[in-house]
């Protein structure tokens, strides 16, 4: 079951997308995915969900009140760097596209009005690409373990770091205390 989060400020869009994702088969190559869809009409609420749950794919509109799609995906990327990211938008100027690619590293930009088939294949591709990436990383770690380039402890530390970014670092205060809240870290 792949968990997909969609954000759009328009409820009709969310409803239409949910219908498509529920009905159409999502497959790429010989892999097929069943999708579980979580929809949000506000990027702030969606970001809250990203903080608490893990998602495989994030789909965002670009123009939304409060926070645009790029800001949302950028924030979500720092929390869940492994989730695939798509932008689904009716309009974005070149500036926005450049930001989307350079700052966020989106997998796909899909224009509105979208074509259901294109949308599904883009989602399938993004999910397959993500799977491949994770698998590659795991295999590479296995090889490194065998070669002795890396210790099991390091592999575990990396895994923990992915789940909770920053957990493997200790921030020492000037008086020898350990600073947990990033707000109180000395900025140097």
């Amino acid at each position: 079951m792949s968990r997909i989060l969609i954000v759009d400020d328009e409820d009709s869009i969310l409803k239409a997308l949910k219908r498509v994702l529920r009905l159409a088969p999502c497959a790429y190559g010989n892999k097929s995915y069943t999708l579980e869809v979580f929809d949000f009409n506000s990027p702030l609420a969606a970001l809250e969900a990203v903080r608490n749950e893990e998602f495989d794919l994030l789909v965002s509109d670009y123009r939304m009140p409060g926070m645009d799609g790029i800001e949302f995906l950028k924030a979500a990327k720092t929390i869940q760097p492994d989730a695939a990211r798509l932008i689904l938008s009716g309009y974005a100027d070149l500036n926005a596209l450049v930001r989307a690619v350079n700052e966020v590293g989106i997998d796909r930009f899909i224009g509105k009005p979208w074509n259901d088939y294109d949308l599904m294949s883009a989602i399938g591709q993004a999910l397959a690409h993500r799977d491949l990436m994770l698998e590659n990383r795991q295999l590479a770690n296995l090889v490194r373990l065998e070669m002795g380039d890396i210790t099991p402890q390091q592999v575990e530390a990396e895994r923990l770091e992915r789940i909770e970014p920053g957990i493997t670092e200790v921030n020492w205060g000037p008086d020898g205390s350990v600073v947990l809240d990033p707000e109180f870290q000395s900025k140097d």
């Binding site: 328009e10 009709s12 869009i13 409803k15 239409a16 997308l17 219908r19 498509v20 009905l23 159409a24 123009r63 009140p65 409060g66 689904l88 938008s89 009716g90 309009y91 100027d93 224009g111 509105k112 009005p113 979208w114 074509n115 259901d116 949308l119």
Partner: protein
């Protein structure tokens, strides 16, 4: 007149007829009646020379220029007469020389004046052609500038049309997106209903298995959504048409409140978050105007207001009020945005003055606005304080 200083004066040059008439009788009287004057060649100038007369030369330089002859006078008297003549002749020479000099210098002055005059005529002609050339060049450059200005103006118009189109694209593509998707979903739903026919088992059972309750319910919802989406697109297109006035380009009676609302609905299409509108519109008399231009004017001013709030980075309000008195219609558009400095206000109406970064407008919004207002014999003024906000006041006269 080429008498120079080394000219050898002849006696007849020095003593013309008139002076001979004066001198001859006087000297004749003094010298005892018999008296005559000859020049150096022996020609007689005055009197009747007699051969036995006493002769006295008149020597001015080295050579004698003439002779005084008298038979009756004594030698001493003749010498005295000669000395007298010397004095007279020398005075005459000095006078002649001075007058020659004077004439020469006058002639010289005249010549140089003539030369100066010719030179002036020539240089005047030169300056005339130069000025004609310059005028042509200035004209050409002014023409170039006008053309460039026009081009920039067109570019700005295109840019604002582009911005408008971008906002419109977003507005239209959203409903278009879900309507299209919904319709293709609906096709699949119908496919499910078609399956019902070939499905084995009882109707109720198949209905249950295919989850047709949900599909039926969702289909209604889907069609309802789609219809609403189409309505939205229709409204946007109608707004755009009304705004651009594609179907009425001429002057007509218009309610400016209506124009204000249309312009606001255009701006809303591309509005940044955190901006609210408040209307305080009192009933206005209709005035004769070009609605397309008026819409453009309001759109420019209201868009400025919205951008000023967006620039301030805090939520704000655009307050639009209108009222009419016997003189005309007053419209005020106030925003609580970044405001303007005194210098910015001073330049605000100048074409191509902008505080925005390159690429986001070339600074013709207010210039266009002022042109439109002036074309309707109205007035536009700005009142602003940095960090407090800006008020744009518009006035349109109504015919009495």
């Amino acid at each position: 007149m080429t008498l120079s200083f080394d000219h050898e004066w002849r006696l007849d040059e020095l003593l013309d007829g008139a002076s001979q008439e004066k001198i001859g009788p006087a000297l004749g009287e003094l010298l005892g009646g018999d008296f005559s004057i000859t020049d150096d060649a022996g020609r007689t100038l005055w009197g009747q020379p007699v051969p036995e007369a006493r002769r006295e030369p008149l020597i001015l330089e080295l050579e004698p220029v003439g002779y005084l002859l008298s038979r009756t006078a004594s030698a001493a008297a003749l010498i005295a007469a000669r000395n007298l003549m010397h004095v007279l002749l020398r005075a005459e020479i000095r006078f002649k020389m001075a007058s020659t000099l004077h004439l020469e210098s006058v002639a010289e002055d005249f010549e140089s004046l003539k030369r100066e005059h010719a030179r002036l005529i020539e240089s005047e002609a030169r300056y005339k052609t130069l000025s004609a050339e310059l005028e042509a060049r200035v004209k050409k450059q002014v023409g170039d500038l006008e053309e460039r200005k026009q081009m920039l103006y067109e570019a700005e118009k295109l840019a604002s049309v582009g911005q408008l189109a971008a906002g419109m694209a977003h507005e239209i593509n959203n409903p278009l997106g879900f309507v299209r998707s919904n319709l293709s979903t609906f096709e699949k739903y119908l496919g499910k209903f078609a399956e019902l026919k070939s499905h084995p088992g009882s109707l109720a059972e198949s209905w249950q298995r295919l989850d047709l309750d949900f599909i039926l319910e969702d289909s209604v919802d889907l069609l309802h959504d789609s219809a609403k989406g189409m309505e939205r697109i229709a409204r946007i297109v109608a707004d755009l048409k009304a705004f651009s006035n594609v179907d009425r380009a001429s002057e007509e009676y218009t309610d400016l409140n209506h124009c204000l609302r249309e312009a606001v609905s255009m701006v809303e299409a591309q509005m940044p978050p955190g901006v609210h509108f408040r209307f305080d519109l009192l009933p206005l008399p209709s005035i004769v105007c070009l609605p397309g231009h008026i819409n453009q004017l309001f759109f420019n001013v209201i868009r400025n207001a919205v951008l000023a709030i967006a620039d301030s980075g805090r939520p704000g309000e655009v307050k639009i009020s209108s009222e009419a008195d016997e003189a005309g219609i007053h419209i005020r558009i106030h925003d609580s945005g970044v405001g303007m400095t005194a210098e910015q206000i001073e330049h605000a109406f100048e074409p191509f003055y902008t505080t925005r970064p390159v690429g986001s407008g070339v600074g013709l919004g207010l210039a266009t606005a002022r042109n439109v207002v002036q074309a309707h014999s109205g007035r536009i003024s700005l009142d602003s304080q940095p960090d407090v906000g800006t008020t744009v006041s518009l006035f349109f006269p109504t015919p009495p």
